[in-house]
């Protein structure tokens, strides 16, 4: 069973995504800020294993999603975890910035939970094919 770490400071979004992923058979972990996300990702939050994918919001207090992404990519223990960025920023330059920071895909807010699920499945499949 794959584990997805959900990082979003909006509890409505966090709960909805967690529910949707649980319904789809994923194990989920949800945190409200980037620092907590890094702790969970680096300490092996699920039975000592790193999450299989991280879904992170761009705009958050303490650390932005981009900063979280850069920190994950700079750490050998987490550098290969696929990351999907949730963002209201859909301008070309901002999307480029996300990919430059190492995200694998992004989802534009307002978002469709169904589309989110498809994207998560696709990114996980690509990640599995690489390994």
């Amino acid at each position: 069973m794959k584990t997805v770490l959900v990082v979003d400071d909006d509890p409505d979004i966090r709960e909805l995504i967690t529910w949707k992923l649980t319904q789809a058979g994923y194990t989920t972990l949800a945190v409200g800020d980037g620092e907590a996300a890094l702790k969970v990702a680096t300490s092996g939050g699920v039975a000592g294993a790193a999450p299989d994918l991280i879904l992170v919001d761009w705009m958050m207090p303490l650390m932005t999603g981009i900063e979280v992404c850069q920190a994950l990519r700079d750490n050998p223990a987490t550098e290969r975890i696929p990351i999907i960025l949730l963002t209201a920023k859909a301008q070309e330059a901002e999307v480029e910035r996300g990919f430059a920071a190492g995200v694998d895909d992004y989802i534009v807010k307002p978002f469709s939970p169904r589309e989110m699920l498809s994207r998560i499945q696709a990114v996980l499949a690509r990640s599995e094919a690489r390994t």
Partner: protein, 289 residues
Amino acid sequence: MNGGGVAAFAAAGAALSAAVAISIVARNQVRRRRQNQAHARVRPILFGILDGGAIDRRTIDALDPFEQRALDAQAHSLLPKLRGQEKESLARLLDRRGAVQAAKLRTRSRRPSARAEATEFLGQSGSPSALNNLLGLLNDPKPEVRWAAARGLGEIGDPVAVSPLLGSLEGPRPIPVDVVADAVFKIRDCPISVLRQGLKSQSAPVRAVTVELLGRFQAVAVSAEIIERLEDDPSVEVRARAARALGRVGTPRAIDPLVSSFGDAPVALRAQIVWALKEIGVPEAVPSH
């Protein structure tokens, strides 16, 4: 009163204040806990509806008033955060709960903030029945209400709103060019013929919006008219938006007009010409002077 009496009176006052403060904090905690419990109880119902489940009236009626308020509050809160089928399900739920009708009434409130909030909600609900209300609100005395109405018309997406939206750029209560452009761009069946007509308008904001939209819709068939705006329009803003539009359309026939317009163009226009030539794939065509 002697010294001891004053001290006792002060101590009693302090104790009373502390007791009141503690009781307020405790009451708030109880209310918050009750709210959280109600939210947790209604969440599976709400998420089930979002997931395509039927809106079971009996299940909702069986909720106590506190839980029903929690359901409405969560649905309201999630509405602007979602799109697609989930948003439609949520809007349907809110409509059945009477929220759309209530918002229509609130758009007549004397308080501008209440009108703006209700207008915003009507737009987010995407309810076709709100179309006429939103069209009327394009002329509200308060700009925040007019802007919300324009955004809402974009959300509803009925092409009937295109002409009134273009009309809202003029007059004593105009709506900004970018607000209108963003709204019309959301109307997927926007008639290009109406936008084409707008290029000939006497109003510079209308020409600016229509040229911008023709670019965003990548209307290749209208590129000759966009080139005309680039070369001849008296407004620098319209010319700059025409240059950007040509970049978005990406037609090679725009290269020469873009290069020859660069000459002594203002900086804002030059920046858009440079961007457009890069988009078309000929960055080397940017004049070096």
